[in-house]
């Protein structure tokens, strides 16, 4: 049985439609119009034990709503959810004992106290034994370098420090399931890679199941074998993005820098490729777009070498960003 099972999950909100202006404000006072927003629209997916699932989508797509339902904060309008065999919103207190949650934009440490005090409070709340607690602290210090931060009040930490402490706090009780909602948002490259390493390590050594939402697709590329893409409340992709990158991004580009000006029309005639155009402002560089199923890059390069004396040749690989963008765009067509 899957560790996380989501079946036909739907969540709709009733929101109050505000009329604008002074007149609108008066009307609002007496007559209100409501509209229903379908934040999550009949989605189903399963996550197996030990998996790291990437969960991506544009802003307002329904990511956070899904996470909040899975963590037991929100109650779904329809559909079924089970995490670890428990229905999150029905047994909230019991459920949250078995999960760890990191919201990159919020802290779960109480502002007024020092980090170590927050940690010991969490230790007691989650009933972690003192020896386990010490071992965890030591491990977190090694990987996340939180040792020097322990005696600083939470409100005085920088964002990077706070997120590192937050991640440690959410994993203190060794939960089998961890939800990471934009854990690397606003962090510098060093801290980012630090956190990625840590997530990967946790998953490898303890088999922790994780759901990761992020806008940073390099996080996904580094950590997730499987990703879900959600848009307008619906799942529009479920699979390996690396694979999707190969399948979906057939358009590739070759950029050729030249020593001298060339006549683009004559080259286009001789290459017999769909598109060929000058890139940029000068005439000394041209970009060739092609479909890799129709012609291979090798063929094009060979033809170019026959015809011209290029200074440099660059092949542009599609990035994961372009793949995701393409999936979004396909959906909106």
């Amino acid at each position: 049985m899957a560790l996380i099972a989501v079946e036909n999950l739907t969540k709709s909100y009733k929101t109050f439609k505000r009329k604008e202006g002074l007149k609108g404000a008066f009307i609002n006072l007496f007559k209100r119009e409501y509209e229903f927003v379908q934040a999550v629209d009949n989605i189903s997916f399963h996550v197996e034990s030990g998996e790291i699932l990437g969960y991506i989508g544009p802003n307002g797509a329904g990511k956070s709503t899904t996470i909040k339902i899975l963590t037991g904060i929100l109650t779904p309008t329809a559909g079924e959810v089970a995490v670890n065999g428990l229905v999150p919103y029905k047994r909230r207190q019991q459920h949250v004992k078995n999960i760890g949650v990191v919201f990159g934009q919020r802290t779960q440490l109480w502002w007024d106290i020092a980090v170590i005090e927050a940690f010991t409070l969490l230790r007691d709340i989650y009933e972690v034994s003192k020896t386990d607690f010490q071992a965890q602290l030591k491990k977190f210090d090694e990987v996340l370098g939180i040792g020097p931060l322990l005696h600083i009040p939470v409100r005085k930490l920088s964002l990077g420090q706070r997120v590192r402490c937050d991640i440690a706090a959410s994993l203190l009780h060794n939960p089998p399931v961890v939800f990471l909602d934009e854990p690397t948002i606003g962090l510098d490259v060093a801290v980012k890679s630090n956190i990625r390493e840590f997530i990967k390590e946790m998953n490898a050594s303890l088999g922790t199941t994780m759901i990761l939402t992020t806008h940073d697709l390099s996080d996904i590329e580094y950590l997730c074998q499987r990703s879900l893409i959600i848009d307008q409340g619906k799942i529009i992709f479920d699979g390996d993005l690396q694979q999707a990158k190969d399948e979906l991004a057939r358009q590739r580009k070759i950029q050729v820098d030249l020593y001298e000006r060339v006549d683009i029309d004559s080259i286009r005639d001789q290459l017999k490729v769909a598109e060929l155009e000058f890139a940029g402002q000068n005439d000394y560089s041209l970009t060739i777009s092609f479909n890799k199923d129709e012609i291979s890059a090798i063929d094009i390069i060979q033809k170019i070498l026959d015809l011209l004396h290029p200074r440099d040749i660059k092949i542009e690989e599609p990035t994961i960003e372009t793949v995701v963008k393409e999936i979004y765009e396909k959906r909106s067509l």
Partner: protein, 273 residues
């Protein structure tokens, strides 16, 4: 036995929330003295008012000036509790709802209601130990203060009164979940409690029909009963039945808060972020 130990460990966790709030309250020195002065001034104004009203040994509904000297001081100190509970429970919950801190608290395996209660209790302990004690000491030295008739009964009754108020404050806090902005509700309840719980004037001074309505409401159970016990106005039988009624109100309001919290959380709509 096992249950008792479990109960004790859980209880100790919640008291740590009290401790955090207590320490937090200690860390603002200027605020401490400003509020102290403000409340002391209100007591002094009230005192001179009563001194004028009850001049020449007059009494109103059994209250003479010497009763009112103690009454205004004790009731004045109770206003610290009102301040703490309306701010530390109702406004705190509203703030947590809007800032998203509520979400983070829902992700912890603790009861939100008890977490909020115990936080506020830490604040009240601070208010009583530092502000309350200071005000009463100053008052005793300057004007004079009758000690409580029965300190133990008074403390039990006050504790029950605080529980009743905490229950009301929690319900007021919950209204934010439904109407987004509960400032109006909060203002109205705080004003009602100041007026109807006996911190402004002794309730017997209201017209008879008001007094008989107040018998059916929880407000007088919050502070008026404890003050009456303090002043030794109630007989043993009356004290026992008052304590029972207080306990019933405390229980009903907390259960109402518990149930309403459950349904309110189900309706929670937090978009974005």
């Amino acid at each position: 036995m096992v249950y008792l130990r479990k109960f004790w460990t859980r209880f100790r966790i919640y008291t740590r929330f009290s401790k955090i709030r207590f320490i937090d309250r200690l860390s603002y020195r200027a605020h401490f003295f400003l509020v102290l002065t403000e409340y002391l001034l209100i007591i002094i104004v009230n005192y001179f008012l009563w001194k004028a009203i009850l001049a020449d040994g007059r009494t109103i509904r059994g209250y003479a000036l010497e009763d009112m000297v103690t009454y205004v001081a004790v009731a004045g100190v109770f206003r610290f509790i009102i301040n703490e509970l309306s701010g530390g429970i109702s406004r705190e919950m509203s703030g947590q709802y809007h800032s998203g801190e509520l979400i983070m608290n829902l992700l912890k395996p603790v009861s939100y209601q008890l977490y909020i209660y115990f936080r506020a209790f830490g604040g009240i302990l601070f208010q009583m130990l530092f502000r309350g004690a200071t005000v009463l000491t100053i008052w005793a030295l300057l004007v004079g203060l009758t000690p409580p008739d029965s300190a133990a009964t008074f403390i039990v009754s006050l504790a029950l009164g605080i529980l009743i108020y905490a229950g009301i404050a929690f319900l007021v806090g919950l209204t934010t979940f439904h109407i987004e902005n509960n400032a109006g509700v909060l203002f109205a309840t705080t004003a009602s409690i100041e007026l109807l719980s006996g911190t402004l004037i002794p309730l017997v001074m209201f017209p008879g029909w008001v007094v008989s309505i107040l018998d059916y409401l929880p407000f007088k159970m919050i502070f008026y009963i404890p003050i009456q016990i303090y002043l030794g106005q109630l007989g043993v039988q009356e004290i026992v039945s008052a304590l029972i009624v207080q306990a019933i109100w405390a229980f009903i309001l907390s259960i109402a808060g518990f149930l309403l919290f459950k349904t309110s959380v189900r309706k929670l709509t937090i978009q974005g972020g």
